[in-house]
Subunit: 280 residues, 2 copies
């Protein structure tokens, strides 16, 4: 590694590397102005890209090559948690990509091995509600998952009325996936029968309609998200970011959630559940 000129640099780089998921130990043999040797002990294999990404964020340090990285080994390559973010035509961009950002940071910075993908109903690219076209990594249900994020947007109403697609979502829930909706994505979970008798929320403008469609659901107001165990629902659009941070808190740890808030500079309130923004 080049660019290390003092013990301050060593401390900076050590702190940055220790923050990487799986890293247990960092030792730096400083050669001022030359090529310093960095030894990293981790419980999983780190890629050059991961190490470079971390170093890049913090300063002008360049990685000469990775040649002193010990890998403690792992019993399996499978992730601890498989997470899919569902995209569909007319999905509200921020509903999906707010959680996407949080969850992909989780995959980078978390203490658990998390694999996060973007999926669509058929694996093809989708045109979101505000006109952005997004490519995806796979299709809904093409692998067992632990968590599905269902965004809202005008496409969610159409999806909620499509019995075949709703059936695919029901099956994922039956197979044990936690289902998390953002905004009017709650209509999709409702159509799949997942809101009956539980506490849930949605966009403030859509609460009345959701309550009417699902009389046994208890639709609450004033909360950024509602965690009912197997089903988690959030308020409108930006509240999906808060819910995703809560999911990191729940499935990993509060410390990891705060780490993500810090890199995203997002003011998340785990206890207060955020400020309600119901009208102006």
């Amino acid at each position: 590694m080049t660019g290390l000129t003092c013990h301050g640099c060593v401390e900076t780089v050590t702190a940055q590397l220790i923050a990487v998921r799986g890293v247990k130990e960092v030792n730096i043999d400083l050669v001022e102005g030359g090529v310093s040797t960095v030894s990293v002990v981790a419980d999983r294999e780190l890629t050059d890209g991961e190490v470079e990404g971390v170093l890049h964020a913090g300063g002008a340090f360049a990685l000469a090559r990775v040649d002193a990285m010990s890998f403690l080994g792992s019993t399996t390559n499978a992730p601890d948690l498989a997470v899919d973010v569902l995209f569909f035509d007319g999905a509200e961009e921020l509903d999906a990509i707010g959680p996407w950002e949080v969850l992909r940071f989780w995959a980078e910075l978390g203490d658990r091995r998390v694999d996060v993908r973007a999926v669509s109903l058929d694996g093809k690219s989708v045109r979101c509600a505000k006109g952005l076209t997004v490519d995806v990594d796979g299709s809904l249900g093409d692998r067992p998952i632990d968590l599905l994020i269902v965004p809202g947007g005008r496409g969610a109403d159409i999806l909620a009325g499509d019995l075949e697609q709703v059936g695919r979502i029901s099956r994922l829930a039956e197979q044990g996936a936690t289902m998390a909706s953002v905004c009017t994505g709650a209509q999709v979970l409702g159509a799949a029968g997942l809101l009956d008798g539980i506490n849930a929320t949605t966009h403030w403008m859509a609460r009345g309609q959701l309550q009417k469609s699902h009389p046994s659901a208890r639709i609450s107001s004033g909360e950024r998200w509602v965690d009912s165990g197997d089903v988690v629902t959030s308020a409108g659009v930006s509240a999906g970011i808060d819910m995703a941070l809560h999911l990191v808190d729940r499935f990993d740890s509060r410390a990891v959630a705060h780490r993500i808030c810090s890199v995203m500079e997002y003011p998340w309130h785990p206890e207060a559940r955020g400020e309600a923004v119901i009208s102006t």
Copy 2:
């Protein structure tokens, strides 16, 4: 229009339609349980889709057909403001799509005629920092613009080092476009010479490096965004949403910015400039 059963419905629909940009007057001739006639007077042509979108959000009202819409006419089809959001390989998703969401809502709900596009350096699709591939509407500089959003992410550092691309950004600034960066997008504006002698901000982790690269810039901390007139910069990742709302406030009105906060359920603080999230 069908589904209107009482004067409460009439009030709801009237309020929803009045909120649409350009609508000046709404009159509803109620036929309970049948087809009511809705007359809309607007200073621009409304599409069926726009009207349906609004009605859909609020309840179970269905549009039979649009046949009583008066169009006051407009002197020009050109937008008041042309806004491009720049995407590039390695751009942080939320840096770009947070503002995208705000600005596209502005185009729908604002009092000014705003045209917002996604662009890339060459008009081709890009792969963002967290792996999402996004298609775009055009390429940087292919039309005169009033405002450019430059996101951060690891791709921003590469872009900042590419003299040819930085030159294209300088030229847009010279032609009068307001330049707005999110997160480490400030490095790109800095490379274009746009930060010299002005107040600016960036991601808290990148402040030191930005200050070092641009000694005459005054890099501040603790603010979600810094408006220096022709150049506006925001703190990291999610702060781009706050900055975009400020740009709506500045180029349109505070009322429109609050309208967007309301539909996005985003707790924006125009005076306080948001809560600083510098570390955990």
